[in-house]
């Protein structure tokens, strides 16, 4: 071979990727430690005696309470949940647009493109927006109910504020990706920084912004249900009532209503997003690749959504005035006085640290579980081209439809309900919480990952098949490498979300900060709650930082 001397110039073994190795080891250690923390004694894991109660719940699935009164109630409550989701989303988009503009780096640059002191304003703002992002809707609900009392605004704000903070971050990233030329021209011509952005960048990113809003709407339905469960009204609230006395038939009437509602919202959201698949939306990745300039479905949906806002506002009898009422002011100062400074519980730092580590372990284990299963299920759940093309296709698409229904149920049933069911068949401890959160996230991840599969570029696979590769070869050399990066990134994003979600798992034995906050809430130990919330925010920011640094390394 004449090329031999040159060939020796290139190393025949791949360069070591230390960053990647480091994260692999880090991940393995984290999972092992978490499993050890949760307990690995299999003999103490399962409780076989409770299986009949566990299956009772699922048998009731086919026997929901269909008495007209109860169905009427379920429909009405579904409307309330929907209303919360609509108004919550509307608020989050509003916060998102204004916040997004403020968080855009360009806005803080001079016309010449240099940054001065205003750079620090930008930094500070970004830091401020990270805090509500790290707090779960339920935490907001807990705080707001003490200020606003029995007010539908509690649910609207509890959804709108944290979602708004996330949305602002995504919008800022979208705006940063818009080519700066138009905006610079306007600023060079003397336009102010905000008006230049308004005319030069926002119209460009608008369709992506709206698409993302619809993705948030889909999440808002699930959030509204969970908020209801902790007392905010709607389907979740009725669910909690029926749940207390274990009326499974009633629960299933409400759950089916929730399943239908979120099924419609999910489908609508993915239709609006069309080729912008959920995965890229969830990951806030660049969305613009295939955004049509004028998308009739998006436009119609946006108009209908706008129309639904006043309907929901009027229907829920929302009044923004209660925000400025003397009572709200008085109660919020009282609450602040009670809660500040945050205080440690009887167990001090050690107790808080232990709870925090438990929370981390809970999120790690549940995500590893959910992600591994979802990575397989995604291929079964994905929609195929030409579903009626052949008998094999028909069977495949029927299995797919069934799998998607199972995933829908998994994410429509709120995590606390899953957790309680798990306590029937698992011994109390971290595991029931782990499995509950895993099932719920399997529902979310399975769907997102199935969309990754659906949007997979099939040309590499076709090319390999054409050159004689076996199905196994195609799977390993084309399909898996193409999806694995996105799958992993999705798993890491959900891990960040899962940390927040642990707070909903105060039920039986699911330990961690959620349990602690619940204990403190019962004692009205506001300064203790504040300490727990601070711990939760810190651990969430920590996980966010790790997750984004892993994503940078492995991308």
């Amino acid at each position: 071979m004449t090329a031999a001397p040159l060939a020796s110039a290139v190393s025949t073994s791949p360069p070591a990727r230390w960053g990647r190795r480091f994260w692999w080891i880090f991940g393995a250690v984290l999972v092992a430690y978490s499993a050890q923390r949760a307990g690995l004694d299999l003999g103490r894991l399962f409780n076989t005696r409770g299986f009949s109660q566990f299956s009772d719940f699922f048998e009731a699935m086919f026997r929901p309470d269909l008495s007209w009164d109860f169905v009427k109630l379920a429909i009405g409550e579904a409307g309330v949940t929907l209303g919360f989701a609509i108004l919550g989303t509307a608020l989050s988009v509003l916060i998102g647009i204004f916040g997004g503009v403020l968080l855009t780096e360009r806005v803080w640059l001079n016309v010449a493109g240099t940054s001065g002191a205003s750079h620090w304003v930008w930094r500070t703002l970004r830091g401020l927006f990270a805090i509500p992002r790290a707090m779960h809707e339920v935490v907001f609900g807990l705080v707001l109910v003490n200020i606003l009392g029995l007010d539908p605004l509690v649910a609207v704000l509890a959804i709108g504020i944290p979602f708004g903070a996330v949305t602002a971050k995504v919008f800022a990233e979208l705006l940063d990706e818009v080519p700066p030329d138009a905006e610079q021209t306007l600023r060079a011509a003397g336009a102010g920084r905000f008006s230049a952005l308004m005319f030069g960048a926002i119209p460009h990113a608008m369709s992506d912004i709206l698409s993302y809003g619809f993705y948030r709407f889909e999440c808002a339905i699930r959030s509204a249900a969970v908020l209801g469960l902790v007392g905010a009204g709607g389907l979740g609230f009725q669910l909690a009532l029926s749940f207390q006395t274990l009326r499974y038939n009633e629960m299933w009437t409400l759950l089916w209503a929730l399943i239908i509602l979120s099924g419609i919202a999910d489908r609508w959201s993915s239709l609006v997003r069309r080729r912008r698949n959920a995965a890229s939306v969830e990951m806030h990745a660049s969305l613009s690749t295939s955004a049509p300039a004028k998308d009739p479905v998006l436009r119609t949906s946006a108009v209908l959504f706008l129309l639904a806002i006043p309907v929901a506002w009027w229907r829920l009898d929302v009044s923004a005035a209660s925000l400025w009422s003397g009572r709200a002011r008085r109660l919020s100062t009282e609450l602040w006085r009670d809660a500040f400074p945050p205080a440690l519980g009887d167990d001090g730092w050690r107790g808080l640290l232990g709870d925090t580590v438990d929370t981390l372990a809970l999120a790690v284990l549940s995500m590893v579980l959910a992600w591994s299963i979802a990575s397989v299920v995604a291929f079964i759940a994905s929609r195929i081209e030409n579903p009626w093309g052949s008998p094999a296709n028909i069977v495949r698409s029927m299995v797919g439809t069934f799998t998607r229904l199972v995933l829908l149920i998994a994410r429509a049933v709120p995590p606390p309900v899953w957790a309680f069911l798990m306590v029937f068949i698992l011994k109390p401890g971290l595991w029931p919480g782990v499995v509950a959160l895993a099932i719920y996230n399997l529902g979310v991840l399975g769907r997102l990952q199935a969309e990754v599969v659906e949007n997979l570029d099939d040309r590499p696979g076709r090319a390999l098949r054409a050159s004689g590769a076996s199905a196994f070869g195609v799977a390993n050399f084309a399909t898996l490498p193409a999806v694995s990066g996105r799958f992993t990134a999705l798993g890491l994003y959900r891990w960040e979300v899962a940390i927040r979600e642990t707070v909903t798992l105060s039920v039986v034995g699911a330990a961690g900060l959620g349990r602690t906050i619940r204990d403190q809430a019962v004692r009205f130990d506001y300064d203790g709650i504040l300490a727990s919330i601070v711990a939760l925010v810190l651990i969430t920011l920590f996980v966010d930082a790790i997750s984004s640094s892993i994503r940078r390394t492995i991308r």
Binding site: A3, A7, T12, R462, S467, S470, F477
Partner: protein
């Protein structure tokens, strides 16, 4: 080398849906070893359909397509190993390294265990480097495919096909995304690959008339699914080809 055609089309008609228009209409030609054939014609003329049919990815509605005398309808894995295709837009797996992308050209020969081993680390690295040298980018061996420029990706796609060592190379617009200088270089690599390996033939679709005339020895011009003319490059003039593109646009 045997004297039978590497690729032959025999009265091939294809329509994608029963009611739709013909994508190909009664096309017949055959390509022998050593030939470099350019398929030219405006968009929608049927170039890609011919390449897909030659690949056995699209079955002819009428007529027969044969590779080495075997009907593509009954093409097994063994038969496919002889066909190397460079699809439009190169179809690399972006998250894999160049080495694995090149190695994937030989998947047709590998069982499951060997497939996994190749995925972890390609065995025949020296051979891969040698082929990457042919296409001019040996130093990219361990780079991720999606971090390469468009031209470099196209070279990797060609390297993958060369590593496969096929008798028939099918290339769909291999240079459409490249600037003129790079286009020339890439076509040079492809024609070299045919010239230096006995028994090999190239069929490529092209948009660029001068480039087709320069690098291929035979032109098949298509229009609306039919063969307009099929002639040696020497007998075709540039204006003739240029007109062909203008016909439908």
């Amino acid at each position: 080398m045997s004297n039978h055609a590497v690729l032959s089309f025999d009265g091939v008609s294809i329509n994608y849906s029963p009611s739709g228009p013909w994508a190909l209409r009664d096309v017949s030609f055959s390509v022998s070893a050593g030939e470099r054939v350019a398929l030219v014609g405006p968009s929608g003329a049927g170039k890609t359909t011919i390449l897909s049919a030659a690949n056995g990815l699209v079955a002819p509605t009428e007529g027969r397509v044969r590779v080495h005398g075997t009907d593509t309808a009954s093409l097994g894995r063994e038969g496919r190993r002889a066909i190397g295709s460079i699809p439009q837009g190169n179809a690399l797996v972006g998250s894999l390294r160049v080495a694995q992308n090149v190695a994937s050209g030989r998947l047709g020969y590998l069982g499951p265990v060997e497939t996994l081993r190749e995925l972890v680390r390609p065995r025949d690295t020296e051979d891969i480097v040698a082929i990457l040298e042919q296409v001019g980018i040996p130093e990219k061996l361990w780079d991720r495919a999606d971090q390469l420029s468009g031209g470099q990706q196209q070279r990797v796609a060609i390297a993958r096909t060369l590593y496969q060592k096929p008798d028939l190379i099918l290339a769909d617009e291999p240079v459409s995304a490249l600037d003129p200088a790079r286009s020339d270089a890439v076509m040079e690599i492809l024609t070299e690959a045919v010239a230096t390996t006995p028994g090999r033939a190239l069929v490529t679709s092209m948009h660029d008339a001068p480039l087709a005339l320069k690098h291929c020895d035979r032109i098949i011009a298509l229009r609306r699914g039919e063969v307009l003319f099929d002639a040696p490059s020497e007998s075709v003039t540039e204006p003739q080809l240029a007109m062909l593109y203008e016909l439908e646009s």
